[in-house]
Amino acid sequence: MKMPGRPFQLPPDKQDAMQRAKRLEWLTLLFMLTIIAAIGLTMGMSQAMKAVWTEDVLSLIPPIAFLVGTHYLGKPPDDRFPYGYRRAMMIAGLCGSLALFGFGLYILISSVVNLVMAEHPSIQTIEIFGRRVWLGWLMIAALIYSVIPPLVLGRMKLPLARELHEKALQTDAKINKGDWLTGIAGVLGILGISFGYWWADGVAASIISFEIVRDGTASLRNCVAQLMNKRPSDVESREKDPTPDKVQQELERLDWVVKARARLREDGDVLTGEAFVVPRDERNLMDRVKQATETANSLDWRLHDVNIVLVSSLE
């Protein structure tokens, strides 16, 4: 069953950005796997390192969710999904933010429990090339390695997330931030342990976990709100998106329009919904609606499938 209108397509420059974002996510997966291996090899019996390792495994979820989401993203609407597949990214966003939230909560709880129980972490030695080395030094080396890729990749993702207005990518950049922060906390913790401060690790981790839990809560709230068709906002969900107001103003500028109201929601990166328009009179309505539809959909690359609804008054 054919629906009127054309399926949404990213403008060419955004398509490039999307390709770059996908490449970054593949790179993230690749690097995270090497990090998981490096931490796994050095973790020994250390509970703290086990926590870092678990977080690293958790942080695979957002890139996987993003890549799965983008796989469906471009599919044109069909009979089964007449609105298209753009909302797939909202599911990716929800998965990612749940992972971020869980990740933060996990470190917070485990580090506080370790502190309260006064767990003294024991770290053994290992023989490398005939020399006995305290595993703590190797852990620090592995942790320093684990800091670099997420630091670089996360920073590269943020501008792309803004450009593509992709909240799933934004969440993933946040989890990268969490990754490198916990890496640093781990290094500080093990250095502390080496100086005989058994609590160093737990303190460093719990401070950092606050930051991650905060990011996770914000991200999770935003994802749920977006699924509830919240008013559109910027990619960090801090400010209102000005586009609905702009649509309204532009429609009101048309000479046959008395008043207009735009009711828009975010379908992933796309803004869609309807604009209620009160016409001055009923002459030539077919052409007028067509003109208004074009106006409403051309103001921003994200506007798509904005329908004009004629009403006699806004009351």
Partner: protein, 238 residues
């Protein structure tokens, strides 16, 4: 950008700290065990477990007791021996009332989260051996293999489909025997490729005393090659 630069600097400092520290007296003990023990007394919990720890009418004996004596001498301390059960000793160790517990512990002890364990210093491979006169064992399934009564070896044999013959003394067994490889050697048996399991032996130290643990690990790592002979000596004496 500014933040990235700052972070780089931080990482460099951390790396420097780590490399400097690696050569020095780090890691240290939160509870100062190594410092206290040096020139003082070393409280060792003994759990009877021949040939690792052997109770005699006089001074304790056994492969691990020997190792601890050598270690104590090396770091300049006098061992004080405390006989007792495993749980009792490990609980005391966990609360820093002992400095070391030995008794044939392996690294899969359920206590590994409560106390510190050294890295494995000896691998006990339990395998099947046959008398030299016998043809090599082709198939374990259904084979009658001797194992010490009351020990776990018989269960592993059953798991492999063999028929364990539980005996009191392995030296009296005729035919194939399942035992640690060093013991098979002593019994004059030829080891086969039938491996039952491996036990990685460790000693236990108080939790988080990483300086103490590292010192002991270092010592045990160097004595690795002597353990087998010590075990055989102990076994021969009995």
């Amino acid at each position: 950008m500014n933040r990235a630069v700052r972070l780089n600097r931080l990482l460099t400092i951390l790396a420097l700290c780590a490399s400097v520290a690696g050569c020095g007296s780090l890691p240290r003990d939160p509870e100062g065990t190594l410092q206290r023990v040096r020139g003082g007394r070393l409280r060792v919990g003994l759990v009877e477990h021949p040939p690792w720890v052997v109770r005699t009418s006089g001074e304790p004996a056994g492969a691990e007791v020997e190792l601890v004596r050598q270690f104590a001498e090396q770091i300049g301390t006098t061992p004080e021996w405390f006989w007792g059960g495993e749980q009792q000793h490990l609980e005391a160790l966990k609360r820093f009332e002992l400095d070391l517990v030995i008794g044939g512990l392996t690294n899969d002890t359920p206590w590994s989260k409560e106390v510190g364990l050294t890295s494995p210093y000896f691998e006990d491979r339990i395998v099947v051996g046959v008398p030299a006169s016998m043809p090599p064992l082709k198939d374990v399934a259904g084979a009658k293999i001797a194992a010490k009564r009351g020990e776990v070896v018989a269960a592993y044999l059953e798991q492999k489909g063999a028929v364990p013959v539980r005996v009191d003394e392995l030296s009296q067994a005729r035919g194939p025997v399942a035992a640690p490889d060093w013991q098979l050697e002593q019994l004059g048996l030829t080891r086969t490729n039938v491996k039952l399991y491996t036990e990685k032996h460790v000693m236990a130290v108080p939790p988080g005393e990483n300086g103490w643990l590292t010192q002991l690990d270092d010592f045990l790592g160097k004595r690795r090659s002597q353990v087998k002979e010590a075990l055989q000596r102990e076994e021969a004496r009995r």
